[in-house]
Symmetry: C2
Subunit: 345 residues, 2 copies
């Protein structure tokens, strides 16, 4: 297991602790969360991010709200409002509202029960990630070859994005454990550089060979035959297999199609949203213009110019070779992925 | 005409003057070039860049060499070596060595003749850009519609990249003059941010509405129906129409194909290289890893990680709706583009 915890509950302080990912790789600093305003700010500033990690954070957030409400004497209505604010702090990843809802269902049983539910979600996430990593590694070996592979990935989908193992990066970890990673090409992932700051940090820590490249370099790197498979995570998978993920993912999928290599989506089954029929219905978060008009805090564009900053994009299912969950690797055909997975599970 | 000169000859000082593009948009500073070592460093650091501008710089560089050689008493062999170093300072843009060769052919007639040739190259470049801009604007109106258009572009292809007007951005200027630009989506163009630093600066200066976006956002922006046409420049066009341009261009071409919008390459006919049969034969410059691992001197990736930094990519001709030169807009079919253009000219 990687020695990184993006999210955990500190029993002694009875508080939620987040590894501040905005400061990586320069600094390893933690944020103690005892108030909902701090939690919302942390989620919105991406102190913590990654769909599975947000599911865990949402669940612990219910406990934070209950403790703050007890201290401050919130009404039942106020409590419900505050919990609803956690669920909608970011719109695209389905896991956040799912984690909140699951913990909230235990609220009448008290904080200890909510915490037990949150711990369970974290444990289940790690278990699902480990299992989907095995299934994904098997799928890649079967389809691409049982030899050291060059994997292209986008954004960060490792321990930092989950409860502690990883989705796409979990498959990379599993392949590495089998001696089957030659190199990882990590898109830097502008505007917030989760690839160069977070993915490279995790891979370097484990001695997995890694090249950081500009997002725009992915297409030609694949076209030149330097990549065997592209593996990414997901923030929400629609019933037909259309997948929302970090902005730039669609470009990776198009590059993979053009280069004739498989494009694989790795996510726990909780990321599949049975209430959404296709990618058209997934809400795409628009983030502040400044994120693209500045680079690591320094302005890079002239003052009078606007930025356009969607945080996610949707990859249509026909570009996806497999959606890998802890139940199975499913090739989307437009048929109901949620139902297929239910059938297998 | 935009009030920007990337390259000019200062008659009083008898020296080449370059606008230092590495400092834009924060600072407008000029570099006076009187020695070949300074010129080579300026070309390699991208103080001046853009294929057509490099053609002009190459020609003036011969005059710089002649003046330095006269001051320092160079042998004929030394002079040839120094001029050859200019021609090969960067490998991908054909215009650099072409500009050097054209000026060098006048060397036996003296510095004044070489300068006259360099001035002529600059004048011809502006003339070719103006003409290809009219042809390109007509082509876009015919094919896309005679209404305010949303144009996606990549890197910088404006006055800063040429002798003073622009190729892809020249078409944008022409469309704007006709009242036919609704907005320009400018890819920021990592790693060196020519889009946010240079293209946005030129467009803001002329009041052309501009949104800067992460390179990874181009594909979904087109897919969402927000773009009518993608227009880019070129560093070298092979005989079959395969086109080398700034890294990330292939991704724009794939995005345009996926979104069902035309992908247009704009370049003076001097960028078409009749000695290169296809993109496979174009040398792609690899740039320092640090460009992708740092920003403005600040590391963005952990120390132990490698960078992978190709400066250009090749877009295959079948993704290109038109190569627009000062002679015509040609749809590449694999047939010899150089010969087609010769037939028209």
């Amino acid at each position: 297991m990687p020695d990184v915890r993006a999210v955990h509950w500190d029993e002694q302080r009875s508080a939620l602790v987040l590894l501040d990912q905005t400061r990586l790789p320069a600094e390893v600093r933690h944020l103690v969360v005892e108030e909902i305003s701090v939690l919302l700010d942390a989620i919105q500033r991406l102190v913590v991010r990654g769909a599975p990690a947000l599911g865990v954070v949402g669940a612990y957030g219910v406990a934070v709200a209950m403790q703050q409400g007890a201290r401050e004497g919130w009404t039942a209505a106020r409590m419900s409002d505050e919990i609803a604010r956690i669920a909608s702090a970011r719109p695209t990843a389905v896991n956040l509202s799912w984690g909140v809802a699951r913990a909230d269902a235990r609220r009448s049983d008290g904080v200890a029960a909510v915490l037990a539910e949150a711990h369970a979600i974290a444990e289940e996430d790690i278990g699902a990630n480990r299992e989907l990593s095995r299934i994904g590694a098997d799928w890649v070996c079967d389809r691409v070859g049982h030899r050291p592979l060059r994997v292209l990935t986008h954004c960060n989908t490792g321990a930092l994005a989950t409860a502690g193992w990883g989705t796409a990066l979990g498959i990379v970890r599993e392949l590495h454990a089998r001696g089957l990673i030659e190199a990882v090409y990590a898109d830097e992932t502008r505007p917030l550089l989760q690839g160069s700051r977070l993915t490279a940090w995790e891979l370097a820590d484990e001695g997995i060979p890694c090249f950081v490249l500009a997002d725009g370099a992915a297409a030609s790197t694949a076209q030149r035959g330097l990549v065997d498979v592209a593996i990414v995570g997901a923030d929400r998978v629609a019933r037909n297999g259309d997948t929302a993920n970090k902005i730039g993912t669609l470009g990776v999928a198009l590059a993979a199609r053009h280069a004739g290599i498989p494009f694989v989506v790795a996510a726990p089954s909780t990321t599949v949203d049975p209430t959404v029929s296709s990618g058209d219905d997934i809400v795409i978060e628009m983030r502040p213009e400044e994120e693209v008009l500045t680079f690591a805090g320094t302005p890079v564009a002239p003052g009078r110019v606007r930025g356009f900053n969607p945080a996610f994009d949707v990859t249509p299912h026909d570009l996806i070779a497999a959606v890998v969950t802890e139940h199975a690797a499913v090739t989307p055909t437009g048929a109901d992925v949620a139902e297929i997975l239910r059938g297998i599970a």
